[in-house]
């Protein structure tokens, strides 16, 4: 009995961690939607939602209830299997990368021996990351590239011209900007010397003060990353897959009720994961300057403040998304392609070559 428990315990911990993380992210996503409507309201001189609950805080739940009770319309001529599969693929691929992000430092001061049956005998460390894998950066990039299928399949299976055009546009856009994103990430990976996200944060914390967070040596890389991140998540000014004036609603024109809600959630979860990526790669993740002088490294308050800093940095990026949505108009499609291939990719490559030269001379 005890042996089995000991065997199962790590898996149970991971399972609980995954569930908590997904739940937390979906809650943050719900309030990102509310925040977006509020901030857009302020930018446009309106109040935003303020009827459901005080200050509109219950609005996300009202929206969700509405999505659940709407009629679910499935087009007759659609390919049913793929039509049902597409929203699931979109949301799954959006949620999966969350598990590899370290959201706080390792806590080393709690003794976990008090757990029953001695299942955590002598365990002192608690890593604040669900799955620490060797190739975290590549994992995130690969799952993002699989996420294209959700949108492509949705566009194809709906059997509607608007959906198909939206799906094609979106896949072309995501394939093009993935390259620029990759080039900007390689610069950080070279400076850190690792593909592991935990190691990348550690490399930033331990580097000399003039390059403490990688946004300083990799500023061009950061700009390239940010722009391609906006394009990857299909947000304004790159929201051509759902350009209302030309394509009604793009790839999700034929989707209704909860299936549409899945696409909607996937878009916001993608925003969230990309913001986490930008935080980890360029802003030092959970790192707070000078905090190690106030609290002991590895203690609980240190970890809590670090988690708060991480969430704050991520929320800053989410706010940036909303701010830009309220400010910039949409690209034309040929402008988008020219910008991606003829400006962003060469800029990323130039940055990469510069980084290679500098790293080569630093390591000599």
């Amino acid at each position: 009995m005890e042996e089995t428990l000991k065997l199962i315990f790590p898996y149970v911990v991971i399972l609980i961690g995954v569930l908590l993380a997904f739940q937390g992210v979906l809650m943050i996503v719900a309030y990102t939607v509310l925040g977006e409507r509020k901030v857009l309201g302020w930018i446009q001189g309106r109040v935003g939602p303020n009827r459901v609950g005080p200050w509109g805080v219950l609005q996300p739940f009202a929206d969700l209830l509405k999505f659940i009770f709407k009629e679910d319309i499935v087009p007759n001529e659609s390919s049913k299997l793929i039509y049902y599969l597409a929203p699931m693929v979109a949301l799954t691929c959006a949620l999966m990368p969350i598990v590899v992000y370290p959201f706080g430092p390792t806590i080393t001061t709690i003794d976990w021996s008090f757990l029953p049956y001695g299942i955590a005998e002598g365990v002192h460390t608690l890593r604040l990351v669900i799955a620490q894998i060797d190739v975290g950066v590549l994992f995130v990039l690969s799952i993002t590239s699989v996420g294209v299928y959700g949108i492509m399949l949705a566009g194809w299976s709906s059997n509607s011209k608007y959906s198909l055009m939206g799906g094609l546009r979106s896949s072309a856009q995501m394939i093009s900007y993935e390259l620029a994103m990759g080039t900007s990430v390689i610069g950080v990976v070279m400076l850190a010397g690792s593909l592991d996200l935990t190691q990348i944060i550690q490399a930033q914390v331990t580097s000399p003060w003039y390059m403490r967070i990688f946004i300083i040596p990799q500023f061009i890389g950061f700009v390239v990353f940010l722009i391609s991140a906006f394009a990857e998540t299909n947000r304004v000014p790159f929201d051509l897959p759902e350009a209302e004036t030309e394509l009604v609603a793009g790839f999700h024109t034929e989707y209704s009720a909860l299936k549409f809600a899945l696409f909607f959630m996937a878009e916001y979860v993608n925003m969230f994961t990309v913001s986490m990526m930008a935080t980890v790669l360029f802003l030092g993740g959970w790192y707070v300057p000078g905090l190690s002088h106030v609290f002991d490294v590895g203690s609980v308050p240190y970890a809590l403040i670090s988690i708060g800093a991480f969430v704050g940095k991520v929320i800053f990026f989410l706010f940036l998304y909303i701010w830009i949505r309220g400010t910039l108009p949409r690209f034309r499609f040929d402008q988008l392609m020219n910008f991606g291939w003829k400006f962003l990719l060469p800029l990323g490559l130039l940055n990469l070559i510069g980084t290679i030269i500098v790293v080569f001379f630093l390591n000599r």
Partner: protein, 187 residues
């Protein structure tokens, strides 16, 4: 125990997807099944402690190559019932190849069952990113360079084929096309 269960889960999924890929007449369904095969293979690599290979499998095959294949399938106007009569002789060829593959598989199983069991070296780091990179850029530098040059050639070639024609050339092509269309209408 857990890894064995996971292996059978993913292997079963891979075989299911492979069968569905061959079975489906609709090329898009086949392509999606192939993506399923790639992803379950990647999961098997993960259970074999080769995360880098697993992730590259997804990144390159599922994320890049198959996306392009699906893209092309979506752009093409496909007939519902393709003419299969001229493919009759291919059944015999496929059967022959299938028998060869089956023989190979049986030989592999036989060879593995003959070799003595070896304990896994816990310090083996073959699947790690660092070791793969070191091997690629020291021991196997020449093949890597050759592959790189070949890929560059392919990129240059595709750009040459797809380049935009200059204005006089373009007008020539348009004139020819207009002539062809008008002839078709007249005949």
């Amino acid at each position: 125990m857990v890894s064995t269960a996971l292996f059978f889960l993913f292997a079963g999924f891979a075989i299911m997807c492979a069968i569905s890929m061959v079975y489906h007449k609709n090329p898009l369904y086949s392509a999606i099944s192939l993506v399923g095969v790639f992803i379950s293979l990647a999961c098997i690599y993960l259970t074999l402690a080769a995360p880098f290979i697993a992730i590259v499998q997804i990144l390159v095959y599922a994320g890049a190559i198959m996306v392009l294949v699906v893209f092309v399938i979506m752009l093409l106007n496909l007939d519902d019932e393709p003419n299969t009569s001229r493919l009759k002789y291919l059944y015999a060829l496929g059967g022959g190849l299938g028998i060869v593959l089956l023989a190979q598989t049986l030989f592999v199983v036989y060879a593995v069952s003959r070799t003595p069991n070896q304990a896994i070296d816990p310090n083996a780091t073959v699947g790690n990113t660092l070791d793969i990179g070191r091997a690629m850029y020291t021991d196997y530098l020449l093949p890597v360079e050759i592959v790189g040059v070949m890929l560059l050639m392919a990129i240059v070639g595709s750009v040459v084929l797809a380049r935009r024609l200059s204005q006089p050339q373009l007008e020539l092509v348009i004139d020819k096309e207009e002539e062809r269309i008008s002839e078709e209408i007249n005949s």
